[in-house]
């Protein structure tokens, strides 16, 4: 009897966890400080974009607006002038959308087929093609700028939206193909063989078997391409005419205008507008993005 009592003594059940350990304070403290460091500029931008010019001139950078006005946002979107056009960022937004949609769809579709063909249908020279593609991922864009100008001129697409779409599709190819190839390589060959015995061909296997399995990777690729193409400045300024400038180029022209008064509130509003799309994409797809990244890279 005594013996069994002595066994009952002591800890039992779940081990308690203390919240305020040195480790927790260090980790959460660091995270908080870093978050503030990164969020402060965003705060300043939002606050400034909601102030009128007189209030800005007082110089209280961090103070919230005394009187909230959306006028800078309206002006940035529809009235601010770049060159001869005075229809605001809406023009650049439209251009960016018209560049973004075909570039994203084309580059992802082609890259996924590339990745599928390179990993599942080994053909003569497939390794060589893959190597060349990978080398492409490491060549600095600047070295290609002028050759691409010549190519676009020769095929008559220089200065057009479709020329830029082509450039985005081609330059997105190495990294996207790599992502897709790694993912498809992780799908067992037996599955591919089973589909072949079941009478599916190249496209049958791609659409019915591979594509449904690769949805997370498509999400990752879409996020990469949407944010990458939306934020692109270099290709946009080099390969299009002013009327077709994407939003980033137009934003630069607004912010860096040397004539007249610098309208900080309009500049801030314009910058925020141009960043809204990538921001929304990240917010909406945060979990999917992480899941896709891990499934695409770890399995590869």
């Amino acid at each position: 009897m005594d013996k069994s009592n002595s066994l009952d003594d002591g800890p039992r059940g779940t081990k308690p966890h203390r919240a305020l350990t040195r480790r927790n304070i260090l980790v959460y403290g660091t995270l908080t400080i870093v978050s503030i460091y990164y969020l402060l500029p965003l705060y300043v931008m939002i606050v400034t974009s909601l102030k009128g010019m007189p209030e800005i001139r007082w110089g209280h950078l961090l103070a919230p607006p005394l009187e909230i006005t959306f006028q800078p946002w309206v002006k940035a979107w529809s009235q601010v002038c770049t060159g001869l056009n005075c229809d605001g960022l809406s023009r650049g937004f439209g251009n960016s959308v018209r560049i973004l949609i075909p570039s994203t769809i084309l580059s992802i579709f082609i890259a996924s087929v590339n990745g599928y063909a390179l990993s599942k249908w080994r053909f003569k020279g497939s390794e060589l093609i893959f190597t060349v593609l990978i080398i492409g991922a490491f060549i600095p864009y600047q070295t290609m700028l002028y050759p691409v100008v010549i190519i676009l001129r020769e095929i008559g697409l220089m200065g057009s939206l479709w020329g830029l779409v082509l450039v985005h599709t081609v330059f997105g190819m190495p990294i996207l193909t790599l992502i897709f190839r790694n993912f498809f390589a992780s799908i067992p060959q037996e599955l591919h063989n089973a589909a072949r015995v079941d009478g599916a061909g190249f496209w049958g296997i791609y659409f019915h078997i591979m594509l449904p399995m690769a949805v997370p990777v498509f999400v990752v690729a879409t996020i990469l391409q949407v944010t990458g193409i939306w934020n692109d400045f270099l290709f946009g300024v080099v390969y299009t005419e002013p009327a077709d400038y994407p939003m980033t180029v137009q934003l630069n022209n607004i912010v860096n205008a040397v004539q007249g008064v610098k309208e900080y509130n309009v500049n801030m509003a314009a910058t925020l507008i141009s960043g809204l799309l990538p921001l929304t994409v990240y917010f909406l797809s945060g979990k999917l993005f992480v899941r896709g990244l891990t499934s695409a890279s770890i399995k590869g």
């Binding site: 067992p188 037996e190 599955l191 063989n193 089973a194 589909a195 072949r196 015995v197 079941d198 009478g199 599916a200 049958g204 019915h208 078997i209 449904p212 399995m213």
Partner: protein, 362 residues
């Protein structure tokens, strides 16, 4: 009914030769098992028959038609894979009907075939589930069903039970056996490294090693009369006892001799002429019995028990006799203890003698 013939098949992956001029004839309606350790080329051979591997040289005939250059789908073969290889994004029903939809069969025909196959395999209630919601045994049933719906002439099974636990494996083995009896016109080629599957399912077993078929015979023949040392050691569990020694010929009386042992070979049936004296005697553990035999020519001796492994249904004894290790399998349970001495006997007619230079059975 479809026979399968493989002619002079040579497969190389890079510089490595997997199969070298392999020939194999499988009769129509036969259940043939390709048995061998991993890496012996048995799966490669199966994939060649299915048309999934590009090979260097050779021909494949199915139903006496040359299908060497045909696509897998045009060969009239159904295949079952070790990893089940179910399409994860499709329901069971879609998995079963995928090949039929590819072949553009009519809706009613597809439904009828899916229903029939799922009834045979007892998976009717699972038709709307995804593969991830199935247990291992159910998955493999669906995988078999995928081959079944197509009414193929030849079933190719690549280690279909290896990914299942022991109990399920035994159950599905019996089911496969029934299925073959039921589809008596269907030829089955079955790849495995499991000798029990091979023994229980096969009409004939092809034992493979390093890309070469060592022996192609009925299971009982492979077990009783292995053509060489490799086959003898591969088949049988616990594996066969191998004792090195010499053949002695005195006054036309052949004997096998090794440390302290002389086995009278008058009851042994030689299939080849003895050209060498250095040989190995193979005795299966289950052919050694406790007790004494008065039959002339039967070998009697006393062994000393080292270790006893009770397995419930039978008992495995590790013993020594004049420095040779001997495994003895006793039926049922035994109260033999390590350190005991036992009288045992075996009939040389049940043994195999292998020449040490060629490793072939004499």
């Amino acid at each position: 009914m479809a026979s399968v013939s493989v002619r002079d098949l040579t497969v190389r992956f890079g510089a490595e030769s997997i199969l070298e001029s392999l020939n194999l004839d499988i009769k129509a309606g036969e259940f043939l098992v390709l048995l061998g350790a991993s890496g012996c080329g048995k799966s490669t051979l199966l994939n060649c028959i299915a048309g999934l591997v590009d090979f260097e040289d050779g021909q494949i005939f199915i139903n006496e038609q040359n299908v060497t250059w045909s696509e897998p789908k045009d060969r009239g073969v159904g295949m079952v894979f070790q990893s089940f290889a179910l399409y994860p994004s499709m329901t069971v029903e879609k998995n079963l009907s995928f090949s039929l939809r590819n072949a553009r069969l009519s809706k009613s025909d597809i439904n009828a075939r899916v229903r029939r196959a799922s009834k045979i395999l007892r998976i009717e209630k699972l038709l709307l589930r995804k593969p991830s919601q199935l247990s291992g045994g159910q998955r493999q049933r669906v995988a078999i069903g995928r081959a079944l719906v197509r009414d193929v002439n030849v079933f190719l099974l690549d280690e279909p039970l290896s990914n299942l636990d022991a109990k399920l494996r035994a159950e599905l083995r019996v089911e496969l056996n029934r299925l073959h009896k039921r589809l008596e016109k269907t030829t089955m080629v079955y790849v495995t490294h499991d000798q029990i599957e091979a023994m229980t399912l096969a009409d004939r077993i092809a034992v493979m090693r390093d890309g070469i078929i060592q022996q192609l015979d009925s299971p009982i023949t492979v077990y009783n009369v292995p053509v060489n040392r490799y086959v003898a050691e591969f088949i049988g569990s616990p594996s066969i006892n191998m004792i090195g020694g010499v053949i002695d010929n005195q006054a036309n009386q052949l004997t096998f001799q090794t440390r302290g042992i002389t086995v009278d070979l008058s009851r042994y049936v030689f299939s080849h002429k003895v050209r060498t004296t250095s040989v190995t005697l193979g005795v299966r553990p289950e052919h050694i019995h406790v007790g004494e035999s008065r039959v002339p020519g039967v070998f009697n001796c006393r062994i000393f028990v080292d270790l006893v492994e009770p397995m419930g249904s039978d008992t495995l004894i590790w013993a020594t006799v004049f420095g040779n290790t001997l495994r003895v399998r006793l039926n049922g349970q035994s109260d033999v203890q390590p350190g005991d001495a036992l009288s045992v006997y075996f009939d040389p007619a049940n043994t195999s003698l292998f020449a040490n230079d060629t490793n072939l059975r004499l």
